[in-house]
């Protein structure tokens, strides 16, 4: 923490707050049934995207998955066009053809997301191949969940990235659940961080509820990629606070253990970081108030923009099929 400038610490806080409050607002508004798209909330996982993206340049690439709101926000994706996409509006970032699971903002390197588990992993690896070929010094980061480590394409991609020393960072957000299936029901060895070692890819396990831990580990990985030393892998453990999709988690007692749930609820990554900043007087209560007001305003403006935006034209259905 000593090594991180105050400005950067406040930026991390703002990003986490932006993700947290956007998620809560989406959840609150979801029952109005105007956002006719599946939502995969990332409450509880905010520290991962925030910590990683703080180390990226604007022109670095981020590839995401179905639970991608946090990645998009942390990389600086436009909030208005994200919310408009959730409201199925013409002004949405994917012009109502993608929905919540396919967010994109090329102006800040948000390269889109796949809702096929592990689908973005080889694509991010390919973007890193472009960087290696053109020597543009960009780094590609791909976020994926614990279940993606069960897909063969992760192993295919890691092998190729290691073989060609590509500037890609694999960030596994292990939230322990794939829909309602616990990791232990799916994986013979739950230590995901050991898998990349088979390819001699540097890998470590990170406390995904601690933004500073994520920040430090990803800084090292990203710098290494940019220096031409090849790929790295981070397994960031955090908890999914909500159901796989939708608002709340109405069936949580059918698949989660109360002890596990309570422990993670006491370990709120956002609140934890907020408390540290206040306690260490890095952020004064006045500054916090100021940040909260700015973030609230930004979010309410995004929702207003989305709600008043026009719906897409049915006559444009065929538009964008071909590139």
């Amino acid at each position: 923490m000593k090594n991180i400038p105050k400005k950067r610490l406040l930026e991390l806080y703002i990003t986490m707050r932006r993700i947290r409050l956007t998620q809560l607002e989406i959840e609150k508004e979801y029952s109005a049934d105007e956002m006719k798209t599946p939502i995969h909330l990332c409450l509880g996982q905010e520290a991962i995207a925030s910590g990683v993206c703080a180390n990226l340049r604007k022109d670095d690439y981020v590839f995401s998955n179905h639970r991608g709101h946090g990645h998009y926000i942390a990389k600086g994706g436009d909030l208005k066009s994200m919310i408009a996409e959730l409201y199925c509006k013409k002004t949405g970032c994917s012009a109502s053809r993608g929905g919540s699971m396919h967010l994109i903002d090329l102006s800040v390197g948000c390269m889109g997301s796949s809702s096929i588990v592990a689908g973005s992993i080889p694509i991010a690896t390919g973007a890193a191949l472009t960087s290696a070929m053109t020597k543009d010094k960009r780094v590609s980061v791909v976020f994926f969940g614990d279940a993606a480590s069960e897909e063969g394409v992760l192993f295919e991609s890691m092998n190729f990235a290691a073989l060609k020393k590509l500037p890609v960072v694999y960030v596994c957000e292990n939230n322990f659940y794939s829909v309602c299936s616990h990791q232990s029901a799916r994986q013979a060895n739950c230590d995901i961080s050991m898998r990349p070692k088979a390819f001699a890819i540097p890998s470590c396990r990170v406390d995904g509820s601690d933004v500073l831990d994520v920040y430090a580990a990803s800084k090292k990985a990203i710098e290494s990629a940019r220096a031409g030393s090849g790929p790295s892998f981070l397994e960031c453990r955090a908890y999914r606070w909500r159901a796989h999709a939708g608002a709340g988690d109405p069936h949580k007692e059918t698949y989660r253990k109360p002890k596990e749930w309570d422990a993670w609820m006491r370990n709120d990554p956002f609140k934890k970081f907020e408390d540290i900043l206040l306690k260490k007087k890095i952020m004064t209560p006045g500054k916090m108030k100021e940040i909260c007001a700015a973030v609230d305003k930004e979010i309410s403006e995004a929702f207003e923009f989305a709600k008043r935006s026009p719906l897409p034209d049915k006559a444009d259905l065929e538009k964008y099929l071909h590139g």
Binding site: R97, G126, F160
Partner: protein
């Protein structure tokens, strides 16, 4: 352009003193030019750098352009296809070679869920100019998993281009168009066409997608041939002529987009249609063409449409059963005679 002769070493222009190339030679020449002209182009695939160089299509290219632009790949078809998608999204022009279309089944997630959809689901903000080349491997015991064509699967998917050239001239012109296009292209060739020679100009030229060709004119029946079946259709047409039947042979050259007009115009003239394909009939390209003509050209038809395609079976390996499996010239002739009254 008409094919005037057929056979394993058929020559499109036997009487003319023109430069002639095989399909692999034409492909190699075009790749060479593309690599030379466009720094974004790269070639990958298992064996693109070995002594056989993908049937000759990539021979010598690594030596000329270096291992960074022409490289061997792990056998990770889905991963490498996704890597091609990612490279294409970020400005490159990858060309990914496979010995057989059968192996593309391992890459269906990246082809169908990703490459084909990214332009649409991201509102045209990204494009995927990725070319995937595969060669149908009929014969010599290749069997069930090394002989498939599978183009019907790809024709089914919006967002893909599907190219199936039958001559060296078309292979070059369609590869040029594929390189200039901003979309994923499935480029399926047929091993049995690789010994054929046709005139290929040295200069670059492009053949637009969705433009078929009348390879032989006739007034009694239209035969649409796909890929190698163009050759069988031409052979059938020649025999049929001796018996007084005039067969018009159409080569669509690309199946997605499909030149519907050239087929409908021909059927309007002949009133009869036979479609010959190198794939299964059920939900295949031939059935799709038949459906299109039934929907848009029903009034022209004087007789039922006939399809000459594979039986609904895996391809057998042994040569006797292969002979029983593959339809050819004689099946086309039989189908024509069933629908043309004399």
């Amino acid at each position: 352009m008409y094919i005037e002769k057929k056979g394993l070493d058929f020559d499109e222009h036997p009487d003319k003193d023109l430069r002639k190339l095989t399909v692999p030679e034409a492909m190699r020449e075009t790749l060479d030019r593309a690599l030379d002209m466009d720094k974004r182009v790269f070639v990958m695939g298992q064996g693109v750098d070995d002594h056989s160089g993908m049937f000759g299509m990539t021979i010598g290219l690594q030596k000329k352009y270096g291992i960074k632009r022409v490289f061997d790949t792990p056998l990770s078809e889905n991963g490498l296809t996704g890597i091609g998608v990612g490279a294409a999204l970020t400005g490159m022009r990858p060309i990914y070679f496979h010995n057989r279309p059968d192996f593309l089944l391992l890459a269906m997630d990246q082809i169908v869920n990703h490459a084909a959809k990214y332009s649409y689901i991201f509102a045209g903000k990204v494009k995927v100019p990725l070319i995937i080349v595969a060669v149908i491997g009929r014969g010599w015991g290749s069997g069930a998993q090394h002989s498939q064509s599978l183009h019907g699967l790809f024709m089914h998917v919006p967002g893909l281009r599907l190219v199936m050239p039958s001559t060296a001239y078309d292979a070059k012109g369609l590869l040029v168009t594929s390189l200039a296009d901003g979309n994923p292209v499935i480029f399926i060739e047929h091993r049995w066409l690789f010994k054929h020679k046709s005139h290929v100009p040295e200069d670059l030229y492009s053949i637009p997608f969705g433009r078929g060709l009348i390879r032989r004119k006739g007034k009694d029946v239209t035969i649409v041939g796909i890929s190698y079946m163009v050759i069988e259709a031409l052979a059938a047409a020649e025999d049929l002529e001796k018996e007084g039947y005039g067969a018009e042979v159409i080569d669509p050259r690309t199946l997605r987009p499909l030149d519907e007009e050239i087929i409908l115009e021909s059927v309007k003239k002949t009133g009869r249609l036979v479609i010959a394909d190198t794939d299964w009939k059920t939900c295949g390209a031939a059935s799709e063409i038949a459906s299109m003509v039934a929907q848009k050209g029903f009034r022209y038809l004087k007789a039922p449409i006939r399809i000459v395609a594979w039986p609904d079976l895996p391809v057998p390996s042994g040569h006797i059963l292969e002979e029983a499996f593959y339809p050819g010239k004689d099946d086309i002739i039989k189908s024509v005679k069933e629908i043309v009254e004399r």
